[in-house]
Symmetry: C2
């Protein structure tokens, strides 16, 4: 895809964007404000810009007069770049122009860490977990009537130098017919021991040569969503993936309500079956889409939080929600996938990620394995933010972890107009610091329906930086704008007027919403601080941040640092892992080295129960400000706030 350079005037800020990008998207990415209320749908008509050089596609609507169009005006949310452009943003006053000339930070999300199988091999991390060996067997005769399995094992030794082999019962059951189906040419699937001393298991035999086809399944068992992938064990590629809402949702939205349900008579069985039903639905789809023979699948690796893990394995989770919050086990033995109810071949082994504690589960351990922080020299902060946020801090020498209840704010919950990151959710935001007119962009560029987590962070950050709210999250009562008002005794800011929305109501952000966000980010930040305190370090020692979970992909890093959710750091030191749980499951599928390392990692990960850690409450209270009571922890923001003063 070719790129276009767009220069915004009067700022002179330039940005390179892919051809076909809308001008408003380019402005958002460049940190340039254009008034816009309808989220990008083209109905508010506020985002008029003038194309001064270059050509665009679209952007001509009934909101512009013929004269406007002739002069080069277009709606920024509808006009798409088709080459280099100069775009002038209309200003209403000299002050306005001055504000617009203020250097603003471009939108920066975390660099995505792409998984690379070859890199993993180059790093010496590849230890094949599964290998297929094709061999032509001498047919039995009266002089040579060894048992079929003995013949196979003997020839694997002779032809492939394989030793210490043992065959599963499923292999013994099928070998007589398989051996005789293709003139004694067979392919054996060998599963390597995780530890060197173990035996290699023959888990499958197939007629003919199938050695070029070898797959595994990786799954992330999320409380809300279950993700599955078919992995090619030879190339490392993802052949198919699919996600479904976890069918257990009908027994409760969150882990606590599911635990309560599981404690009822028959509840554990029903809830386990609901989860497995979803797994089977996903398996059916991804196996079909990948076009693989189920016979060629050898393992399924699953990672989930501790409650999801115990429910999957039918382990009563009742003590997870009762002090002192003890899970049944950290490690789980390899199991037959069939025994868990999974519709996979008889030979498929289910490998379940170990957990650290009741609230630092296999999903986080998988994320730690997937991110490689346990192999890194750099002190890394790993965060998986959702309703519960899990934090891991450490490096190759030590790892500390904790979970904190952030509340649902980061998932758009608990806000008056909160919603999940779905079509119509305000995800991006800027504010004209003089007029206090907003630019909002929604997912899907449609009229807004609500606010999602990343949108909320952006909003609060912007509002704080322009001075609309103060460090305790309260609106400046001295500012004059019709958007600032009281409702039921609570101050709120109107983000979109009802005629601009899909919901026929004003969409607002209240001080209560902001307080929820501050509490959520405060819990996470103070969790980090507390872990660091416990190991005798400070927030400034963190050299790298790894974000996992859906949340991390969208969040504007500078904004997250502005509100004090993340410590200040160069954006290129922040890595987005995607679904860390799924990545870890995939890596464990691909190499035994990860499975071997995970046992060490589990031993190394020191779990802190924050509520029982003396310093946590102090850290928490100090973090209930924007960005923090101690502004010196955020020196760049401090500089910007000081630079901002003249405009106040």
């Amino acid at each position: 895809m070719s790129k276009s350079k767009i220069t915004f005037l009067p700022h002179g800020t330039s940005i390179e964007v892919a051809d076909g990008s809308t001008i408003i998207q380019a402005a958002l990415d460049a940190g340039v404000h254009i008034n816009a209320s309808c989220g990008g749908e083209g109905v508010c008509g506020k985002c008029r810009v003038r194309i001064e050089a270059g050509a665009v596609d679209g952007g001509v609507t009934e909101k512009l007069s013929a004269e406007d169009v002739r002069k080069g005006y277009r709606l920024a949310c509808q006009a798409m770049a088709t080459g280099d452009l100069e775009v002038r943003i209309p200003v209403e006053s000299a002050i306005d122009a001055g504000v617009l000339n203020l250097p603003a930070s471009p939108r920066r999300t975390a660099r995505i860490r792409e998984f690379d199988f070859e890199e993993l091999k180059d790093e010496g991390l590849f230890l094949a977990p599964v290998e297929k060996k094709c061999l032509q067997l001498p047919p039995p005769s009266p002089q040579d009537n060894l048992p079929d399995v003995s013949r196979l094992i003997g020839q694997l030794r002779l032809q492939h130098d394989e030793h210490r082999l043992e065959a599963d019962l499923s292999v013994i059951r099928k070998i007589p017919e398989v051996m005789r189906a293709a003139d004694f040419k067979v392919t054996a699937t060998l599963v390597r021991p995780v530890r060197e001393v173990g035996q290699t298991r023959i888990i499958n035999v197939q007629a003919g040569d199938t050695s070029g086809r070898s797959c595994a399944i990786a799954m992330d068992i999320g409380t809300t969503t279950i993700y599955g992938q078919v992995i090619d064990l030879i190339t490392g590629a993802v052949l198919a993936e699919h996600a479904e809402f976890n069918g257990q949702i009908s027994y409760g939205e969150d882990v606590i309500t599911r635990i309560v349900y599981a404690e009822k008579p028959g509840g554990l069985d029903r809830i386990q079956e609901a989860g497995v039903a979803t797994i089977n639905k996903i398996l059916g789809k991804i196996i079909q889409r990948a076009g693989v023979d189920p016979q060629d699948i050898s393992t399924i690796t699953l990672a989930g939080n501790t409650t999801m893990t115990q429910l999957l394995l039918k382990i009563n989770p009742r003590h997870i929600r009762r002090a002192p919050y003890v899970p049944a086990s950290s490690l789980y033995p390899p199991l037959k996938a069939r025994d868990l109810g999974m519709k996979l071949d008889d030979h498929v082994t289910a490998l379940v990620y170990p957990v650290v504690s009741s609230y630092v589960g296999g999903d986080i351990v998988a994320g730690v394995m997937g991110s490689g922080i346990y192999r890194s020299e750099e002190l890394t902060l790993f965060m998986d933010v959702g309703t519960n946020a899990e934090i891991v801090i450490g490096n190759k020498d030590w790892l500390a972890c904790a979970a904190c209840s952030a509340g649902p704010a980061f998932e758009g919950g608990g806000l008056q107009f909160g919603m999940r990151a779905a079509r119509g959710a305000i995800e991006d935001f800027s504010l004209n610091p003089k007029t206090l007119e907003p630019m909002i962009a929604t997912i899907g560029r449609v009229r807004p329906k609500g606010i999602c987590g990343s949108g909320l962070i952006n909003m609060v950050a912007v509002m704080f930086e322009v001075g609309l709210i103060d460090s305790s999250g309260k609106f400046d009562p001295g500012l004059k704008t019709p958007r600032l008002r009281q409702s039921g005794g609570v101050n709120e800011f109107v983000l979109a007027w009802k005629e601009e929305t899909q919901i026929d109501r004003d969409i607002t952000l209240s001080e209560i919403d902001i307080e929820n966000l501050i509490r959520a980010k405060g819990a996470i930040y103070s969790g980090c601080m507390t872990l660091l305190t416990e190991v005798g370090m400070g927030i400034q020692d963190i050299e790298r941040i790894v974000l996992a979970g859906g949340f991390g992909s969208f969040v504007d890093l500078d904004k997250a640092m502005t509100i004090g959710l993340l410590p200040e750091m160069d954006a290129d030191k922040v890595v987005y892992l995607g679904n860390g749980s799924l990545l870890g499951a995939r890596m464990s599928s691909l190499t035994n080295r990860i499975r071997r390392d995970v046992a060490d990692v589990i031993r190394k990960m020191t779990n802190f129960e924050l509520s029982d850690t003396a310093s946590f409450m102090d850290n928490y209270i100090a973090a209930l400000f924007l960005p923090h009571t101690d502004l010196n922890q955020f020196p760049r923001l401090k500089a910007r706030l000081e630079a901002r003063k003249p405009f106040k």
Copy 2:
């Protein structure tokens, strides 16, 4: 029990018997002939003897006149010794007396090998397969909220110096409640790895201290009968045992008909379930009788022939009956007993004895392990005789094995009046060489119904030694006795007249019956010869004989040597193992050393398919005589036959 010495006159032969033994039993054991036709029931009245010194209980019947009784006559089959006796057997002529003075061999059965757990320990063969450890755990607290399994494993390390432990899923599932049921006092059941490098598995946890209770199940899966035992793993004792006919009998009497059935659609499932139903019936009984908690049972070890093993594991046995007779596997992995349908706790592991070939199965391997021949310096002949006879020859350096189809003669099958060794079967036999009047004794000492295998051997041996039949098994036509006659062109000998039997027909032994026996013993003897030839040895090199199976307990060793079933050897070199399969299963339950050794034994056991071995047919034809074409292989018999000549 006190002993009495009985001296038979005019022979002067003495024997010590337990008080309460009948005189006829003492005579049988001493090799003294007394005419007797009714099997010991007291109705024929032929077994009159005179008590010349000492006192007896019983033996006074209507068959004796008051005068006879006064003179000291009693019926030998009814009179029981109550102290030392002198018993005179009435003779009708000087010749008769001469015959009776001939030294005859007393009845000698094989010395029974008793299993001794302490001896096994003394020999250094004890490696505990299962150990229970009781421990008091510190209760979890906010400062110490390890997962339950981690707590258990950590404390097992601290309190019991246990390392490299892993917990089964069933333990993870129950540990939360078990730990909290008795104030964190628990007993863990540890299963040791067979090889030193493996991990110790925690297969069970129980509340409180149950470390004094630890059991296992041993089973012999016979084609006809399944035997089960509850074994105390601490003392080695058998706490209960029980046998049932294998419910698979309704799908066929022998392995071939069962294989045929198993090949039909659904047949394998049905026949497997029938076998498991019998196993469950036995389990129910022995567990109840032993009064053990099913929780305290850790393993079930099963041994059976190759067909029984494949049926139990639902492995289609079709190739077992098709040339070149290939079983699916030699070794079987440990399995969950539940997965096979057994009504045992979830944690119970099923260990299945490995097989050598299609016709040398796990029952024989278990017998080899139970008998210890694989550890012995002495060259041993191991035989398990039934419809199929399995032979193992070897010592600690090498083992050769073969199976031969002996036909059903040894189980009383294929004879006109053949029957299993049950009440009413003629089991013992002698013949007055002059009058050709028999002494028969039946199982249960009731009137005869038929002839069982050991009775048949005794009969043919006696008939041959007295010259009633010649070395090709034909009756001497020159002998005059109403018992010798033709029926349908076949010569036969009347063992009991119809009025003396339970079946209201004469019970006879025909030349065809004798021929069947000669074929059966010929197959076995030539099997031994062939194995020896293949390893470059001769029959005289055999230093010890081990008999396994029900057959071996009753067979009169001298008689078996007389007909050429066994090579000639001192009787004290012959050991009767009992149910070798069950003994091997029991030993594997008690010590991992046996489980470790069995893998070597399997590798060492060279299987010979007799039908494909060049020398077998020559050896077989040479063995189709009494005792053999080459009488020099039986020097003692040769001497007796030469000594006999004057009486002919």
